[in-house]
C-alpha cells in the first residue's frame, strides 16, 4: 500500500429535493427582505453544495458567513458610489463632447453609443471583483480541516485580463486559448491548499483542439454571409446562419469543458499531487439543453397561471374603475411575476447547475493522494471584501 500511489475520486451526494427547498426558502426570504437576505441565501446554498462534494468520504466545507458578505458589500458600495458616480459622469461628459450634428438616423444611433463609454469605467473593476471573489471562495473552502487560499493579486489580474481580452478581440478570437491559459495560470499559481501551492503546467497552444467546434460554428457563419452576399437567396443563408450560431454556442460549452479537462490535468499541487478530469461535453450540453427546456417550460406554465390570475383580478378593477383596486391588481401581478422568477431560479439551480457540478466532481480524481497527509493548515485570510465588489457589480452567478 505504501509504495503504490493512491487515487481519490470525487463524489457528489446532493439531491434535487433538498436543494430545491433550500433555494426556494432562501430566495423567498431574499424577496421579502428586499434583497438583503441574498448574502445569507448565497452562503447557505454554497454550504449545501460544498458539503455535497466529497473525496474519499471527506466532505468539503464552506465557512463563509452572510454577515461578512453584507459588511463587504457595504464597504464596496461606499467605494463604488464615489468612484462610479464621479467617473461615469465625467466619461459621459467627454462622450458628449464627441457628438457632432447627426445627418442620418444611423449616425444618430452610432453617436448614442458614445454615451456608453461610461461603461468602461466598470471594466477593470469587474476583473478585479472576479479575482477577489475567487480568492474569497478559496479562503472559505476547507477540505480535511485545511483551508484553501489565494494570494492578494486582484489588480495584477485585472491588468492582465484587460490585456488578454484586447488581444483576443483584436485577433477575432484566435488567441482565446492563450487568454484562457494565462489567466487560469495566473490564478492557479497563486492558489494554495494549506501550505501547498498549486501550479499550472502545460502549453496554451494545446488548447486549440478544444476550439474545434467553435471554429466549425464560425466557418458556417462565414459561409452563411458569403451565401447571402453572392447568391441572392437569403433563406438558405439564414438557415446556415442559425445552424452556425447554435453550433457555435454548443462549441463554446465544449470549449469550456475541454479546456477545463486539459487545465485540470496539468495542475500540480505541492510538486507531487496531480489531478485528472474527464467530464463529457455531451453530458454537460445535455444538462444545459434538457435542464433549460424543463426550467423554461415550468416557468412558462407558472407565468401563464400568474397571468390568468392577474387578468381575473384586473377586469373587475377595470370595470369599477377604482384606482385602489387597480393598484392592488398591479401589485399582485408584480408579486406573482417575482414568485415565478424565484421558482425559476431555484429550478435552474437544481436542474442545470447542480447536475453539471455533480458530473464534473464525479469525473475528477486526485492522484498520489497520500502526499496530502503532509500538508498543514494555512493562516486565516480576512477574505478581503467577501465578494462585496462582485455582488455590487453583479459579477458571477448564483453560486
Amino acid at each position: 500500500m505504501s509504495d503504490t500511489t493512491r487515487d481519490i475520486f470525487g463524489r457528489y451526494s446532493g439531491n434535487k429535493g433538498e436543494l430545491f427547498n433550500l433555494a426556494l426558502v432562501t430566495s423567498l426570504l431574499t424577496l421579502v427582505t428586499l434583497g438583503i437576505y441574498r448574502f445569507w441565501a448565497k452562503t447557505r446554498i454554497r454550504k449545501y453544495i460544498w458539503s455535497s462534494i466529497d473525496g474519499d468520504s471527506d466532505k468539503f466545507e464552506y465557512t463563509g458567513t452572510g454577515i461578512e458578505k453584507l459588511l463587504g458589500f457595504l464597504v464596496a458600495v461606499v467605494i463604488l458610489a464615489i468612484y462610479l458616480g464621479i467617473i461615469q459622469m465625467i466619461l459621459f461628459y467627454f462622450g458628449l463632447n464627441l457628438f457632432s450634428q447627426p445627418t442620418t438616423m444611423a449616425e444618430a444611433v452610432a453617436q448614442t453609443l458614445a454615451v456608453y463609454i461610461s461603461f468602461f469605467a466598470v471594466v477593470p473593476l469587474i476583473f478585479f471583483a472576479q479575482y477577489r471573489a475567487r480568492r474569497y471562495k478559496l479562503a472559505r473552502t476547507r477540505w480535511r480541516g485545511v483551508r484553501f487560499g489565494a494570494e492578494p493579486a486582484a489588480w495584477g489580474y485585472a491588468l492582465r485580463a484587460i490585456g488578454h481580452w484586447l488581444l483576443t478581440i483584436l485577433t477575432l478570437g484566435l488567441l482565446l486559448p492563450r487568454q484562457t491559459f494565462y489567466l487560469e495560470k495566473y490564478m492557479t499559481d497563486r492558489s494554495w491548499y494549506g501550505t501547498a501551492r498549486f501550479e499550472q503546467q502545460g502549453r496554451w497552444q494545446e488548447l486549440y483542439p478544444a476550439m474545434k467546434h467553435l471554429f466549425i460554428g464560425a466557418l458556417i457563419i462565414v459561409l452563411a454571409v458569403v451565401l447571402v452576399a453572392t447568391t441572392n437567396s437569403p433563406g438558405i443563408g439564414g438557415v446556415f446562419f442559425v445552424v452556425g450560431y447554435i453550433w457555435g454556442m454548443i462549441g463554446l460549452v465544449s470549449y469550456r469543458v475541454q479546456s477545463f479537462t486539459y487545465l485540470t490535468g496539468h495542475k500540480v499541487l505541492d510538486g507531487s499531487i496531480s489531478f485528472r478530469a474527464d467530464p463529457q461535453t455531451s453530458t454537460v450540453v445535455g444538462h444545459v439543453l434538457i435542464g433549460g427546456l424543463l426550467v423554461g417550460l415550468a416557468t412558462g406554465a407558472l407565468l401563464f397561471v400568474a397571468g390568468l390570475i392577474a387578468t381575473a383580478m384586473m377586469s373587475p378593477a377595470a370595470l369599477t374603475g377604482s384606482a385602489g383596486a387597480g393598484l392592488a391588481a398591479v401589485a399582485l401581478t408584480a408579486i406573482l411575476y417575482l414568485a415565478a422568477l424565484v421558482i425559476a431560479s431555484a429550478l435552474s439551480l437544481v436542474w442545470i447547475t447542480q447536475p453539471i457540478i455533480d458530473h464534473i466532481v464525479s469525473s475528477t480524481a486526485v492522484e498520489n493522494a497520500d502526499a496530502l497527509d503532509a500538508i498543514h493548515q494555512r493562516a486565516m485570510d480576512s477574505g478581503a471584501d467577501a465578494e462585496g465588489f462582485a455582488d455590487a457589480l453583479d459579477v458571477g452567478g448564483a453560486i
Binding site: K47, A108, R144
Partner: protein, 373 residues
Amino acid sequence: MTVAAGSYFDGQSAARHKVEVRIENDATLVLTGATLPQPQHWPLDRLRALADQPGVDGLTVTLFSEEGDESPREPARLTLRDGEMNARIRRLCPDLHRRDVSRGTWGRVIRYATLATAAVLLMLFVILPRMADTLADLIPVEKEIAFGKSITLQIERALGATDLGDLHCEGPEGQAALDKMLTRLTADQTLEYDLDVTVFDHPMLNAFAAPGGQVIIMRGLLDQASGPDTVAAVLAHEIGHVERRDPTRHALRTVGSAGLLSMVLGDFSGGTIAALLGEQLLRASYTREAEADADGFALDMLNAADIDSSGMAEFFEKLEKLEGGLPEVAAYFATHPASAARAQRARDNAARNDNATPALSPAEWQALKNICG
C-alpha cells in the same frame, strides 16, 4: 457504553485521524485514536453541527470558541456516520444548531450600514447634482445642440419614424404662426440659446425640451389645446427648461445616479422593485423642483408678452382629469408637481393681469392647428 467510529481532522494538518468516540456522563464527547497524541474531550454544550448539510445520516461537528476563525468555531472537525450516536448527540446537545456570531458583529453591521447609507445619500443628493450642474455649464453650446439633436432623433425613431424628419410638420402658414408666437414670447428677453421649435405629427398630448434649445411639440397638444394661449404657455414652460439647461443637467445626473442605485439595490428579485421605486422617487424629487421653476419662468414670460395665463391653467386642469384622481402617495412618485396646484398658480397669476390679448389671431391659430396638413 456505546462507542462509535468517526473521522477527525485536527485543523492543523490534512491528515485524517480514525477515532473512536464515546459520551461520558452525558456531558463530554471523548475522542481516542491511535494517531491522536492524546484523547480529546469535547464538552457537549459547546458542540456545534455544520449547517445546511445534505442528507441526514452523517453529522459533522465542531466546537464553539470565542477566538475561533471565520466564525466562532474551533478549526477541528469530527464526522460521525453512526446513526445511534448521532441521535444521542442531537438529543444531548442543547445548542447543536445554534448560529453563534462573534461579539461586536451587529454593532459593526449598524456602523457600516449607517456609513454606507450616508455616503450614498451624499452622492445622490449633494455631490452628483452639483457636478451635473457644473458640467452642464462647462459643455460647449454646439456640443449640447448636437447631443439634443441626437436625443430628438431617438425620440422620433421611438415614435415610429423610419427616416430623419419623417414626423416633422412643416406647413408654411402654421410655421409662420408658430414663429410669430415665439417672437412674441421672446421679444423682450435675452435668451442664451437660439430656440428651435418643431411640431411632431403624433397624437400624444405632450411637449418636451431637449438639450441645446430644441423644443418639440406633439400634434396631440395642438389638437387638444383650448386655444393658442395654452400652446404659448406650454412653449414658455419648455423654454424655461431650455434656459435652465435642465435637459442636459438631468441627463448627466441620471448617468451618475442610475448606475449607483441599481448597484446598491439591484439584484434580480426584491431589489429590482426597490431600485425602480428609488429611481422614480429620486427623479421625481429632482424634476418637481425644476418643473416648478419652469412654471414660474413661463408665467413671467407670459406676463411680459401680455398673454393670458388662464390657458396654462386650462392645460393643467385637463392633465388633472387625465391623471384621474390617483391616491395621495402617487404624488411623491410623480415627476411633475400636482396639476391642481399648478393650475391654481396660473389662475392666480391670470387674475393679476388685465391687459392680456390672445397669443394668436383666430386665423393664425387655425393655421397652427393645421401645421401637420
